[in-house]
């Protein structure tokens, strides 16, 4: 034992209490992780298993119509990227996601600012804004069918009173895609609104007051204070909008079934059709992996641009 060690030992006046503090500290630090553990296990058990098993399956040829499931390597991916139907669905997905994210973000920002300003009955309006998110995809689709159908649709009835010819919203390829985007936005926008609202509410009120004193108008306040300060929340909001739009099929399927023709067959609808109608599980899994990659890449880009982690 050298002299330094002696000094360090001797200089500690009360070693036992220090150990007690460390233990308590450790306990306190462990609590959040312990609380998160069940949820984590659940997510890993359900989602993790599905993703890993799905990725694994995409390298095999599991097709319930034919016996056997041989190893096929990248054959499913090669097939997808050489098939017009899949390439078409991929391109439509990009249009669908871009449209949904753009319209969704504009709407979500508008609603979030309105809700921030609404002081009376604010909780009521916040609850009201969340309703579309709580309605099932099928109910949303049925509702949009009623609103946009030809003879008895609400929009066409309004157009008729204005002397405008009937528009075949769900029978025309471009209109059908646009209506699908609107239905998707209606469905996913509320959650994005809440994320942005949380961001706006976290801004220090004094910043607004100081800006007003300095003569800043509303546009300047929005552009110079709100937008920069809620950038991380916008990133999260964009991740949600993109993720939900890439994965969307439960509104599109009952609304248009992917038609007319293939006009609304986005990747998620294609995946559903291939896996659960045509019973080609491996091909469906390959599409799942591609959708997952798109989600990861777009999320990564948003995280980088909006510096969510800071």
């Amino acid at each position: 034992m050298n002299s330094n060690e002696n000094v360090s030992i001797n200089m500690n006046p009360n070693p036992m209490p220090s150990k007690g503090i460390n233990k308590n500290k450790l306990k306190k630090m462990a609590v959040p992780y312990v609380l998160v553990l069940p949820a984590l296990l659940f997510v890993v058990g359900v989602l993790g298993y599905a993703v890993i098993a799905g990725t694994f399956m995409s390298f095999w040829g599991v097709d319930l119509n034919v016996p056997g499931s041989p190893f096929v390597g990248l054959e499913n991916y090669i097939y997808l990227f050489t098939t017009d139907r899949f390439i078409g669905s991929l391109l439509r997905s990009l249009v669908f996601v871009f449209g949904s994210v753009f319209i969704g973000l504009v709407f979500a920002m508008g609603f979030a600012l309105s809700l921030y300003k609404a002081k009376k009955f604010s909780n009521f309006f916040k609850g009201l804004a969340l309703i579309p998110f709580l309605v099932s995809g099928i109910a949303t689709a049925v509702m949009f069918r009623f609103v946009f159908s030809g003879d008895v649709g609400l929009i066409n009835m309004i157009l008729a009173t204005m002397g405008i010819d009937q528009i075949l919203f769900l029978s025309s390829p471009n209109w059908a895609l646009f209506i699908s985007i609107l239905a998707n936005v209606w469905f996913v926008c509320p959650f994005a609104t809440l994320i942005l609202l949380a961001g706006i509410q976290s801004i220090d009120q004094e910043l607004f007051e100081a800006a007003i004193v300095d003569g800043a108008n509303k546009i300047v306040i929005f552009g110079k204070i709100i937008l920069p300060l809620i950038a991380p929340m916008m990133g999260i909001s964009l991740i949600w909008l993109s993720f939900a739009s890439f994965n969307m099929f439960d509104v599109i399927l009952p609304l248009t079934g992917g038609g007319p023709g293939r006009a609304t067959e986005v990747m998620a609808v294609y995946m559903y059709n291939v896996a659960f109608n045509e019973l080609k599980y491996s091909l469906g899994s390959a599409v799942m992996v591609i959708i997952l990659l798109f989600n990861v890449v777009t999320s990564f880009i948003y995280l980088k641009i909006f510096k969510v982690t800071e």
């Binding site: 312990v34 609380l35 319930l64 016996p67 159908s149 992917g258 038609g259 019973l279």
Partner: protein
């Protein structure tokens, strides 16, 4: 801290218990009883007595059942079959019978049916041959088709009478009738001569049934031969409906519900429809004075190839069942006249001849279809039937959205795609 760990442990345990599957697999034993598990495709197929009489007659067999929608039955069944948890009997769309047979997931019931025929010829012979043919693959039955229904056509008798039109005898007459009703001013702006489901969500059963009545043929493997007179005719028929405004301009987004709704609400003069839906029409319109049913007509010149087509929801027997004799008893019970009569009259027609006699007696709108029902041919299916349906839906939508395209060119293009499936 200990409490937190205990709490977490409890939650994890709960999750494990919740995630742990129960044993609902193929027939097992419950004490002295043999348990037979049945998956019905719709709740309406379950007999009203819920196997009460069966359990009284067979105290050693216990039937347990569940409802797994027909749309997901095959996938769920195969997944469960792979893990040894599939039920003894599963009800599916008839098109998938051969899929289960090829996968080795269905039991060849030939020897049990032979036994049935020998021991109880009365009950065996009460069933139409289709009951055994529908769930067959390469000549062997893998289940029993207790219920089956053909596609007929319904039309508005009052409007036909007003326009002085006779019941159509060919598909050309159907188009002529729709034209006359439109041109004579019998139909208003939002009313149409012929309604059909043209969207993507509807399985092209209606399209296929019309194709067969027009004389459409199938290859031995079950592929439709659309590059034929019947194929060109059906494409031209669909194109004419759109081109001349004889159907809804929204037909590309109309599902079967829209089609039925238009007829029942008085917005369509004619439509193709399954037998069971006639009971619904009767609730909304007066039979005889307002509407009547008829067999779908033949194509002019294609009378010799005309066939009444049927579709069905057969019960398929699990290849892993440990008690095929008990399963046979369950199938015999479900097809027994006393039991199936109630289901047939309430829901779907049956292949039990004795019950169908009563069916025609009870339902005024069903009379006159006896011979055509008995001669019905099941809609052929291919091993890759879902992909065949995808292509038939594409063809249907192509015809409806391109009324001026050359039908010959269109069917040639789709025939090439269909042939790739063989």
């Amino acid at each position: 801290m200990k409490k937190w760990f205990l709490f977490t442990g409890f939650i994890v345990l709960l999750l494990l218990v919740a995630c742990g599957g129960g044993d609902e697999g193929a027939s097992g034993s419950d004490g002295d009883q043999t348990v037979v598990n049945v998956w019905f495709g719709r709740e309406q197929f379950i007999p009203a007595d819920q196997f009460e009489r069966f359990h009284a007659d067979n105290p050693d067999i216990k039937v347990e059942w569940d409802v797994v929608p027909l749309e997901q039955a095959v996938a769920d069944y195969l997944r469960n079959h792979n893990t040894g948890n599939a039920p003894d009997v599963v009800q599916i769309f008839h098109e998938y019978s051969q899929t289960l047979a090829v996968q080795g997931a269905a039991l060849n019931m030939s020897e049990y049916y032979e036994k049935w025929k020998e021991e109880d010829p009365d009950s065996y012979n009460k069933l139409l041959p289709q009951a055994f043919e529908i769930p067959s693959y390469e000549g062997d039955p893998y289940g029993l088709a207790i219920h089956a229904a053909p596609f007929w056509m319904a039309y508005r008798t009052d409007w036909f009478e007003e326009a002085g039109i006779e019941k159509p005898e060919t598909w050309d007459d159907v188009l002529d009738a729709a034209r006359t009703l439109k041109n004579e001013g019998i139909l208003a702006n939002n009313q149409y001569g012929y309604a059909l489901p043209g969207d993507r969500t509807t399985v092209p059963l209606w399209f296929s049934s019309m194709f067969m009545s027009m004389g459409g043929q199938y290859t031995d493997s079950g592929l439709p031969i659309v590059d034929s007179d019947a194929g060109r005719y059906i494409v031209e028929f669909y194109q004419t409906l759109v081109r001349e405004g004889l159907t809804s301009p929204e037909v590309l987004s109309w599902d079967s519900g829209d089609m039925r709704g238009s007829f029942m609400s008085g917005n369509a003069a004619m439509l193709p429809e399954g037998f069971n839906m006639f009971a619904q029409f009767q609730n909304e319109l007066d039979f005889g004075t307002e509407w009547e049913g008829m067999v779908q007509p033949p194509r002019p010149g294609g009378e010799a190839d005309f066939r009444v087509n049927m579709f069905s929801w057969p019960m398929i027997v699990n290849s892993d069942t440990e008690h095929p004799e008990a399963v046979l008893k369950v199938l015999q019970y479900l097809s027994d006249a006393e039991i199936v009569e109630e289901v047939a009259i309430r829901y779907q027609p049956t292949t039990n001849i004795e019950v169908m006699e009563k069916y025609y007696e009870v339902n005024e709108w069903a009379q006159g279809f006896q011979d055509d029902f008995a001669s019905g041919v099941v809609l052929p299916s291919h091993l890759r039937q879902p992909e065949v349906y995808e292509l038939m839906t594409d063809l249907k939508q192509e015809a409806l959205s391109n009324p001026d395209r050359d039908p010959a060119e269109m069917v040639a293009e789709f025939q090439a795609k269909l042939d790739e499936l063989d």
